[in-house]
C-alpha cells in the first residue's frame, strides 16, 4: 500500500489550487440544493456538513475562486 501511495503521490499530484476550485463549485451547488430544501439561505455550517468538510474550508475554497481585488477597482492592472 505504501508503494501505491508513493506512486500516486509522484504521478498524480492534485494541486491544492485545483482542488480548492472544485470544492468551491461544489459548495455553490450545495447552496442551491439547500435553498430548495430549506426555503431559505443555508448557513456556512450547513454547507460544510453537506460536503463533509470543516466550515473554515468552505471559506478558503470560495475565496480561491474570487479575484483578490477591492470591489470597485478596475479588474485589469
Amino acid at each position: 500500500i505504501g508503494e501505491i501511495r508513493r506512486y500516486l503521490r509522484d504521478n498524480n499530484p492534485i494541486r491544492v489550487s485545483r482542488s480548492l476550485r472544485d470544492v468551491a463549485y461544489k459548495a455553490l451547488q450545495v447552496r442551491d440544493t439547500l435553498i430548495n430544501r430549506f426555503n431559505r439561505e443555508p448557513t456556512v455550517s450547513e454547507i460544510a456538513k453537506e460536503l463533509e468538510i470543516e466550515r473554515e474550508e468552505v471559506v478558503f475554497a470560495l475565496d480561491a475562486i474570487q479575484e483578490p481585488v477591492s470591489l470597485f477597482e478596475p479588474i485589469y492592472h
Binding site: 443555508p42 448557513t43 456556512v44 455550517s45 450547513e46 471559506v59 477591492s70
Partner: protein
Amino acid sequence: MENYMELIIPSYSRNESFARSVVGAFLTQLDPTLDELNDVKTAVSEAVTNAIIHGYGNNGGEIRILSKITNNIFEVKIIDQGKGIEDIEQAREPLYTSKPEMERSGLGFSVMEGFMDEVEIISKVGTGTQITLRKKFNSVPSGH
C-alpha cells in the same frame, strides 16, 4: 460565546485575500450565510486594501487584524502604522479619494458602512490608522 484572534501580516497586496479569508473563517463560528460572510469579507477587504495602498503606500509595514466575537457581536479592527488620515470626515465622504490618479473609486468607506453596522475610524498623521468594524448576527439557523 467569546473568542478572539490576532493576525499580523506584512502589507503585501497578495496578503489582502489571505487576511480576508482568515477573518471570514473566524466568522464562521457565528454560522453566517454566504451573503453575510461576503458582506464582512468585502468590508475587511476594503480596510486592508486601504492600509496597504494609503497607509503604507510603497513602503513596507505590518498590518494587525484583531477580531473578536462577543455573543452575537462580531468585531474586527484593521490597524496600520502608516501615514494616517488628515481629515477623517473628508475620507468618509463617498467618492472622495486622495489618489484619483490611481483610479481609486473613493467608495471604500461607503462600502464598509453599507455592509457593517458600525465603522469607527481612529487615525493620526504620521502614526497610523485603526478601523473598527462591527456587525450583529441574529441568524439562528432553524432545525439544528
